[in-house]
Amino acid sequence: MQNIAFLLLRRLRSPLIVLICVYAISMLGFVLIPGMDDEGQPWKMDFFHAFYFVSFMGSTIGFGEIPYPFTDGQRMWATVTIYSSVVAWLYAIGSMLAIVQDPAFRTLHRQNGFRRSISRLSSPFYLICGYGETSSLLIRALSEAGIRSVVIESNQERLNTLELEDYPIPVPGLCADVSLPEILILGGIQHKNCVGCVALTDQDPINLKVALSSKLLNPSLKVIARAETEDAELNIASFGTDEIINPFATFAGRLALALHSPSMFVLFEWMTGVPHEPLCKPLYPPHGTWILCGYGRFGKAVHERLKAEGVSATIIEEKPEMTAAPQGTVVGRGTEASTLQEAGIEQAVGIVAGTDDDSNNLSIVMTARELNPNLFMVARKNSRANAAIFQAAQANLTMQRGSVIAHKIFAVITTPLLAEFLRLAIQQNNAWAETLIKRVSAIADDEAPQIWTVNINDEDAPAFNNAITNGSQPCIKELYIHPRYRDQSLPIFPLLLKRKNSETLLPDDDTLLEPDDQLLLCGQHDIRSQMGWVLNNDEVFHYIHTGEECAQGWLWQKFIDKKPCTKPARKTV
């Protein structure tokens, strides 16, 4: 606010001085020019009346001549001053309006508004740099989960779409150059509630700068950065960035996963699902030769993955020299039948339409279907706006880069343990994933399951913690026994148990819990609150652990002669 006031005052210097001078000269004129009172005696206006007259003359003109009718000399001076004061006022008001319209002033005004809304944030929030498809998906997922975010984007047009987007929680946004540290500070990087910074601009150097500045300005921050090249990836990793995401490699990796171990792919999709997302169906892509249309950054990454999996692929690329396509590449766009036939579409089992143009991708899918209706079709969707036509095109698998990346970041942000689980899971085989999928679909409705972490400590699970310190030995199963019916279980099961240095995938139900265990649980959406009973309430825990309901009140204990629960010392705050 201070800045605005200073800018306004500085710009208003000359109009104000002009105004003061015009007033002074006009007043002086009226005081010096002889007048006449109502009895014809010579009379001179004093400063008081001169100030009064000049004040209303400049703004209204038409109060009449006071206190006595003017002499001709006074009238002449009044004529001069009317014009000069009106011009001075117009100048002053005009300058003020010009300042308000001034881009610099408006930027300052917006920044002030942004700063205010940041300082008012009272819950943890993420600072997201760069607003595009990925960011918008991420912000939506975060706000569904009740986590706030703040956006800084250098392109005003993109930021306008942020304002039009209807998020459940308001998202403050600012149009500014995010590579400037002062903008990051303005965005709240040093705010006590800022928990992380996500650098998602489409330029590696800017992401690098953002990640570096965030780590320096607030070392405790969780920093996630996007990097397109391996070089940038290594550079960003060198100063302790928590998570680096290469959009092409991640996306291609996910696609390759879909092709060689479909169940694992489905598992990944489900685990990293955002709240209220419908579950995708398991897919069974055939084995054989694939056709890969487009050999850009994405195509290259896919090809590399396919090669590593031992899947042979024929490449179709429009400009093979520019993209350094390997030998045997068919030249063309892939949208024409002849190119596809040349690539051997009749013998192929599947096709990946992976160019960076949505219309071309759709055209490839349509043409390929006509030539070989049995093909397994994978289409790359670049823009979320085209979702409807992609759905109508009915490709077997439609993948969007932004959504894959957003889901991954969302998982990393909300449940850090999930990343560890996925790292371990990928080393398992497809059959393992298939059994797990069956377990998940048994508990989940048609929505993505919720994944969350429970720490066996005084804060997260006081009832369990107390019981363990008092010598009882609860097992994992007791976490999700129904709090009222002991013989029933809640639709929850454990994915990962992390204990000191060891990690157990899908731990046994009867595993005994130890203090400071970290458990990754998977359950139906919104079932988590039910589990809160046994985690927090000693009586409920006692009932679940032993099967007996204990007397809670003193009178009841006397009356029924029941033993009270082993009540440990209450947590003192």
Binding site: L12, R13, I17, I20, A24, M27, L28, V31, D46
Partner: protein
């Protein structure tokens, strides 16, 4: 030499000198204190204030504050004068004059501070 600096210093000094000129004389003798001089002092003081607008340095803020004090004191003096002359109608009795002149004396102090600050600032800048 910088014309802007000349104008700036000119108005600040002029505000002081005009103020001093009005203040000079016996405190309760109306003949010693001209209304024109008070008017000029107010106008120049206002211009000096506007010239000080928008300087974000610490010294700039201090300069602006002294000017605002001087403005306030001088305008109070003018208001007292107009009140006595036109609203109560007692005219400039020695008692009223003493109030007006002492108010302008306060403004004089503020103006002196302002000039001292200006000199101090000039001394620190070696150019």
């Amino acid at each position: 030499m910088n014309l802007e600096k000349v104008v700036f210093a000119f108005f600040i000094l002029l505000a002081l000198t005009l103020n001093f000129g009005f203040f000079l004389g016996d405190i309760d003798v109306p003949d010693h204190h001209s209304v024109y001089e008070l008017f000029a002092a107010i106008v120049v003081s206002l211009i000096a204030t506007v010239l000080k607008f928008g300087d974000r340095t610490h010294l700039g803020a201090l300069l602006l504050a002294t000017s605002l004090v001087a403005d306030l004191q001088l305008i109070m003096a003018a208001v007292v004068w107009a009140f006595a002359e036109h609203i109560i109608g007692t005219g400039t009795t020695p008692a009223v004059m003493a109030i007006i002149v002492s108010l302008s004396g306060g403004a004089l102090l503020a103006n002196i501070t302002s000039v001292l600050l200006l000199i101090a600032e000039t001394m620190t800048v070696r150019s």
